[in-house]
């Protein structure tokens, strides 16, 4: 049962270091939480206002009190056991939400403080280098799927990063290793092991030129990339890479600021590949081409189309939403 209690001024509700699993809410009066700042050692007094909870963290986390709760002027409060407190907040999610915000801010501050102390050492890598190193680690330990994931992410976030061309080279290696059917295929032995090695060679050549082109693109060499992607489409050796290249060709036109060509190209592509995996991205690009060409009505149409094809929690949804907002703002 929640307990009501009254405290006189200058009394203490709990001491720092106490093990005590009750959560308090202040009804009237004044309470101060006293503790030393862990960074400076300075004594801090946090005043609790009426209606506020205190003692939540140590009670929920089941660790000793980190502050002493001193009553400044006669106070009344209600205390809850942890299960009682849980029952209460489950019925009132607003409280949880508020606490999550407070706690997450504290946690963010803690992370920063720890990082500041650590960075004096040499522990931290820049995210860009860190991500690339992870790809390398997985490649070296022959975990090609994982390696591909890390390098793909690298290229997504740092398309013209300092390791972009190395990453694309490594992606080729990893793809080759996967397609070459490294361990599992050789385990199978005889049977179909002699199956058309030439075709496999062809495929990895296509992959090679594809990643070559991606690398050019990442260095902002759109014309060079465009020619490479076109060649892949012409040679027509791999359905997968042809489809991928079609998408990239559109992006090259965008990079070259040839918006009409970009719209034409994607319109063709969508007709030919109604199920293209990058369909929504293509529509988004078409929208932004129309925007650049000054046709905001058409642009809005395409952005809305993307919205209607995505759910709220997808990145593409947010992208389209942002594009729409910016378009509105520009008017």
């Amino acid at each position: 049962m929640p307990k009501a209690a009254r405290y006189h001024a200058n009394s203490v509700v709990y001491f720092k270091g106490d093990m005590n699993d009750r959560v308090y809410i202040l009804k009237s009066g004044k309470v101060s939480l006293n503790y030393n700042d862990i960074e400076t050692g300075q004594e801090i007094h946090d005043i609790i206002n009426t209606g506020e909870f205190f003692g939540v963290k140590s009670a929920l986390g089941r660790y000793p009190r980190e502050e002493t709760a001193v009553v400044l002027s006669d106070a009344s409060m209600v205390s809850f056991s942890v299960p009682e407190f849980e029952q209460l907040v489950l019925k009132n999610t607003r409280i949880i939400m508020k606490m999550l915000k407070v706690f997450s801010n504290q946690l963010r501050r803690m992370h920063k403080q720890v990082r500041n102390l650590i960075s004096e050492g040499k522990d931290g890598l820049e995210p860009e280098e860190g991500l690339f190193r992870i790809g390398q680690y997985y490649l070296n330990s022959q975990k090609y799927h994982q390696s591909l994931y890390a390098f793909r992410r690298y290229i997504t976030y740092y398309p013209s990063g300092k390791y972009a061309s190395e990453a694309t080279t490594h992606m080729e290696e990893a793809e080759k290793a996967l397609q070459g059917g490294g361990a599992p295929a050789s385990k199978a032995g005889g049977g179909n092991s002699a199956r058309n090695p030439a075709a496999q060679e062809e495929l990895s050549d296509t992959a090679k030129s594809y990643y070559n082109a991606v690398s050019l693109f990442s260095q902002d060499n759109y014309q060079g990339a465009l020619e490479e992607f076109r060649k892949i489409v012409q040679d027509n050796n791999s359905d997968e890479y042809v489809a991928k290249s079609h998408f990239e060709i559109g992006r090259c036109y965008l990079g070259l600021e040839q918006y009409e060509k970009c719209v034409q190209h994607y319109t063709q592509m969508i007709k030919h590949y109604p199920q293209h995996p990058d369909l929504r991205d293509a529509l988004l690009y078409v929208g932004s081409c129309h925007e650049k060409l000054g046709n905001s009505a058409k642009a809005t149409g395409f952005y809305n189309k993307v919205l209607s094809m995505s759910s709220e929690n997808e990145v593409i949804y947010r992208k389209a939403k942002r594009a729409l907002r910016e378009l509105e703002g520009a008017k």
Binding site: L100, R108, E120, L131, R133
Partner: protein, 216 residues
């Protein structure tokens, strides 16, 4: 905790064994609740892949993403075929209203994380580097629940790299200190465990260093 999650089915994502859910250093905007299968949290340090944790169904990971799109601090890999609910800041409110149990769970997770970070910070504030190493063992001892609390000798399944990580120093520097302790017969170092001969001795050492620092 028994929670009906059927209404969140649309947030479900599937990972095959070996799939990376997210990679250390990439910006994070989702967090996950495991419904089935296990997820391993690893950190890659140079040429070594270090296991941080193995998470079971019902556990949450990647939760820092509800704060900000900060880089991930570790890599999450599916061990089995994993089904997880994927949440982000946008759909978090929906989750909250539909299932406050998860929010409560998250709240508890945060209290633990805050405590752990604070404890870690306390180690790093020690200016005496030997005391820092000793305090790492005290922290590890606090998290040991199985052993007899009155026992002086404690065994930790850890290694020099781990200790160095927590103490915020290079493995070389840490190794030197541990060897020094070993020379004093305060610790015994094995390949995958370190024995502290008298944890109370370390406790006294760290406390006296803290008091000394405070009075300075």
């Amino acid at each position: 905790m028994n929670v009906d999650l059927s209404m969140f089915e649309r947030f479900a994502v599937i990972f095959q064994p070996g799939d990376i859910v997210f990679c250390e250093y990439e910006p994070g905007d989702n967090f996950y609740l495991i419904q089935s299968g296990r997820v391993q949290i690893v950190k890659i340090l140079g040429d070594i892949e270090k296991n941080i944790d193995i998470l079971q169904p019902g556990e949450i990971f990647g939760e820092m993403a509800i704060l900000e799109e900060a880089p991930r601090s570790a890599t999450a890999v599916a061990i089995d075929k994993v089904k997880a609910l994927e949440f982000n800041r946008e759909n978090f409110e929906v989750l909250m209203k539909g299932n406050p149990q998860i929010a409560l769970k998250l709240l508890k997770l945060f209290t633990k994380r805050i405590y752990d970070q604070k404890r870690r910070f306390m180690i790093l504030t020690l200016s005496n580097i030997e005391a820092r190493v000793a305090d790492v063992f005290l922290m590890l001892a606090e998290n040991q629940t199985t052993e007899d609390p009155d026992q002086d000798q404690r065994t930790f399944s850890t290694n020099v790299e781990d200790i160095a990580h927590w103490a915020g120093m290079s493995p070389v520097e840490c190794k030197k200190i541990l060897n020094h302790f070993a020379g004093q017969r305060r610790v015994e170092i094995y390949e995958n465990k370190i024995i502290v001969k008298n944890i109370n001795d370390f406790q006294r050492f760290v406390t006296s260093q803290r008091n000394k620092q405070k009075s300075e």
